[in-house]
């Protein structure tokens, strides 16, 4: 079914523009046209369909649900909900405080917030269509585990000590069973409401991510066109141990959301970069980004912020090493 886009790219790159399929430039332009057209069409259709299904899911419901769960289950659910619940990253502070003032432990809240940028329906969809189900599955599992283990770790070190005063007070207040109850009684949605929500979501998300796709695919195409064939494979293909921390460090100053980085991921994998190094690089780009971290400063002390940051870098490095070690089995 996805052949249409290859044919479209064949036609545009080779017939209309008149490039040769054997040149680096032709290769790069072909990659660019095929990926951009494919991603745009898939995005709009899939966001709409998924939004129809999850129209009734929102952060308020998730909070009420998580507040009643026991701890160990909480980390897993927090992480899973982080992946499936839609919310704009500009809402992460209100969400953090909303969870906290409902008495949800910091670790569970952070599991939610850490997984959220890494996994979402757009990311999964792009991964499936660009790099296949095996890498997709790995990516999702690793993303969920990062959230779960990160959350457990933060609670183990009593991270709430390093919250800002007002946030800590809200948490303690709620945990002494004085939870501020804000009931969310919403009637079940009609199909028309679901359709409206889904249409709005598709428009919103598309208008937010289209440029990231363009940049991501553009960089991916540039990789195709500029890096000599076999260079990456020859120098980094064996999964040299140092290449993983370097990839993670490179990802820090780069700031992108998952949508922009996945086309680059495809290009890196095609060029022979091992899967562990690739995933470590992408996760670092998406999750360990300064703009989002600085936001969290409003509710956390530097100490906690630094701890979370280092924790992420260490876990992505470990992820990279582990996956590279086992990649022979994939």
């Amino acid at each position: 079914m996805l052949d249409v886009f290859t044919q479209l790219a064949d036609w545009l790159a080779y017939s209309v523009i008149g490039l040769s399929a054997n040149t680096k430039l032709g290769d790069a332009v072909h990659f660019f046209i095929e990926d951009v057209s494919k991603i745009y069409v898939l995005l709009v259709i899939m966001i709409y369909l998924i939004a129809l299904l999850r129209a009734a899911l929102n952060v308020e419901r998730v909070r009420d649900y998580l507040a009643d769960k026991n701890r160990s289950l909480g980390y897993v659910l927090g992480s899973v909900f982080g992946a499936v619940t839609p919310f704009c990253s500009c809402s992460s502070i209100p969400v953090f405080l909303g969870f906290t003032s409902a008495g949800i432990p910091v670790g569970i809240t952070m599991a939610f917030l850490l997984t959220s940028p890494l996994i979402n329906e757009v990311a999964v969809l792009l991964l499936l269509s660009l790099v296949g189900w095996k890498v997709t599955l790995l990516y999702v599992l690793v993303g969920l585990l990062t959230g779960i283990l990160g959350g457990i770790f933060l609670d183990a070190i009593k991270a709430e000590r390093w919250l800002r005063d007002f946030a800590l007070k809200a948490l303690q207040h709620a945990q002494q069973n004085n939870r501020i109850d804000i009931p969310v009684d919403k009637p079940p949605l009609t199909f028309k409401e679901r359709h409206q929500f889904a249409r709005q979501e598709a428009l919103d998300i598309f208008s937010r991510v289209w440029k990231w796709v363009l940049i991501g695919v553009g960089l991916g195409a540039a990789l195709h066109g500029v890096v000599p064939n076999g260079w990456i494979e020859q120098h980094l293909g064996a999964g040299q141990w140092w290449s993983v921390p370097v990839a993670v460090a490179l990802g820090i100053p780069l700031y992108s959301n998952a949508t922009g980085v996945i086309p680059i991921m495809e290009s890196l994998l095609v060029n022979g970069l091992p899967v562990g190094t690739t995933i470590a690089f992408c996760m670092s780009t998406v999750a360990a980004s300064f703009p989002e971290f600085i936001l969290l400063k409003q509710v956390m002390l530097w100490r906690l912020l630094g701890t979370v940051f280092v924790m992420l870098l260490v876990s992505f490095t470990l992820v990279g090493w582990t996956l590279n070690a086992f990649s022979a089995l994939l």
Partner: protein, 78 residues
């Protein structure tokens, strides 16, 4: 005189919401004082988790999106 607060962390949607509120208030000739609140403590105080949210005379009437024109008209003509 209506006291209207737009709660949000300063994203574009929040500014648009405030603009839209001011515009509709003007059209309807309703006196309204629209302010933007970005302090996380204030946002928490209202129990809001999805921004932008709209508070009219201390009542949260909306959260999570830019409100439609019809919604704003309804709030303002109350």
């Amino acid at each position: 005189m209506k006291d209207i607060k737009v709660l949000g962390s300063g994203c574009t949607k929040c500014s648009k919401t405030a603009e839209q509120l001011q515009k509709v208030a003007k059209e309807l000739g309703v006196e309204a004082n629209v302010t933007k609140q970005m302090d996380p403590q204030v946002i928490m105080h209202y129990g809001v988790m999805s921004t932008p949210a709209v508070v009219i005379n201390e009542q949260v009437v909306h959260s999570g999106s830019i409100p439609h024109k019809e919604q704003i008209q309804a709030w303002l003509s109350d």
